[in-house]
Symmetry: C2
Subunit: 210 residues, 2 copies
DNA sequence: AAGTGTGAACCTCTTCACAGCA
DNA sequence: TGCTGTGAAGAGGTTCACACTT
């Protein structure tokens, strides 16, 4: 079937961004929005917006733009799990802390429930509102808390080991910020992002501009 | 013409990753590598590797795999500028520091030359080896140092303002880690990355697995 | 036999063009 | 008139299949 489960990856990314914009609108008391407004706020094409919205089910539309509340709720039912999901941050360095701070009290459906590190100065402390455990406690804590997603922000040489521990603990999704390609399939869904690559990409396009 | 300037975006990203792997090989005394080795290290298809290498000029090949040194140099001539490029980090929070630490002494062709913040406690200090200036000095420092790329890691509400300042200072490329879509075209090349979107994407795929 | 180089097919994503509705 | 919804075309990216080389 061609349900919501088969949405294109790019559409999912944009839905997340639509929702952010929509929530902003609600906060400002704006209750409907045109596809071209959403589009220009995100610098994309209005057709793209309409098609994404079409893909999540023809519903949710009106003749004078989209109903902001209804659309953002609709996106919620697609992206969020009903009972929410818990996230663990592995590696409480600058990057780990950045993510923990970012999420502090933001989402209700996606909550950072634990952090892990090997540094005794961090273990058993609460950092950015999140309890930090010893890396050795990973499996126990993840199972007990029902954590499903792990974010890896450790130094490169500890990345593979961290991923392995997460998989052992039954994690279902991993977001890897380390420049090391991990091998966790088919146990977990894996998303990798490398800041150096992004910067080099910008450097390339800066170099080759007319 | 169909030169190296017109390389697909995805190919550029992979070239950056190939180079990392190749430099690792050199460090380990490995001097040639097969496409399937490179591929499996990065979890992609060997054909993809061969095609990317083909795109950067048929050269660089051998009958017993690729010459590691020659290929990584070749990638260097494509990604790097001859005299290198300087980078500025705008916003010395956790994320800004993460990037500054990451790059410390890593690259010679892509160097973080300055950081900017409004916090008096950070201004005029050296953090992760990088001099931190007041945000008000941005235009002056960027022009004087010849900085071409800006990384924005400020809080969301200051993102637009930071981007504007960078553009005013003649910046040519921006990497935006803020969840705010910036409007800097046609002055600068823009790359955006949003951690929340990435996490939500992982959450979606975790939720919808067979 | 085991690699590379590459045309062509395939798949994914984006945009065009336009019908239909208020 | 000005919006949404959508078939169809187009662009971009990946993989297949196979010729070629040593």
């Amino acid at each position: 079937m061609n349900s919501v489960k088969n949405l294109p990856e790019k559409t999912i990314e944009r839905l997340s961004q639509y929702r952010r914009v929509l929530l902003d609108c609600l906060r400002q008391g704006k209750y409907n929005i045109y596809s071209h407004e959403l589009a220009s706020l995100l610098h994309i094409n209005p057709v793209q917006v309409r098609r994404d919205i079409m893909l999540i089910g023809h519903n949710g539309t009106l003749r004078k733009g989209y109903d902001v509340k209804r659309l953002s709720d609709m996106i919620g039912t697609i992206i969020d799990s009903k009972e929410g999901q818990k996230v663990a941050v592995v590696g409480v360095g600058n990057l780990g802390r950045a993510i923990m701070t970012y999420f502090q009290g933001k989402r209700t459906k996606l909550v950072i429930a634990a952090a892990f590190d090997t540094d005794p100065a961090k273990v058993n402390r609460v950092i950015a509102g999140i309890r930090c455990y010893a890396a050795s406690e990973m499996e126990e804590v993840i199972r007990k808390e029902g954590i499903t997603i792990g974010v890896i922000t450790v130094p490169p040489d500890k990345a593979a080991e961290s991923a392995e521990k997460l998989v052992m603990a039954g994690i279902r999704g991993i977001l890897n910020y380390t420049p090391v390609a991990l091998n966790v399939e088919p146990h977990a869904y894996l998303e990798e992002y490398d800041m150096v690559t992004s910067l080099e990409k910008v450097a390339f396009f800066v170099k080759n501009r007319s």
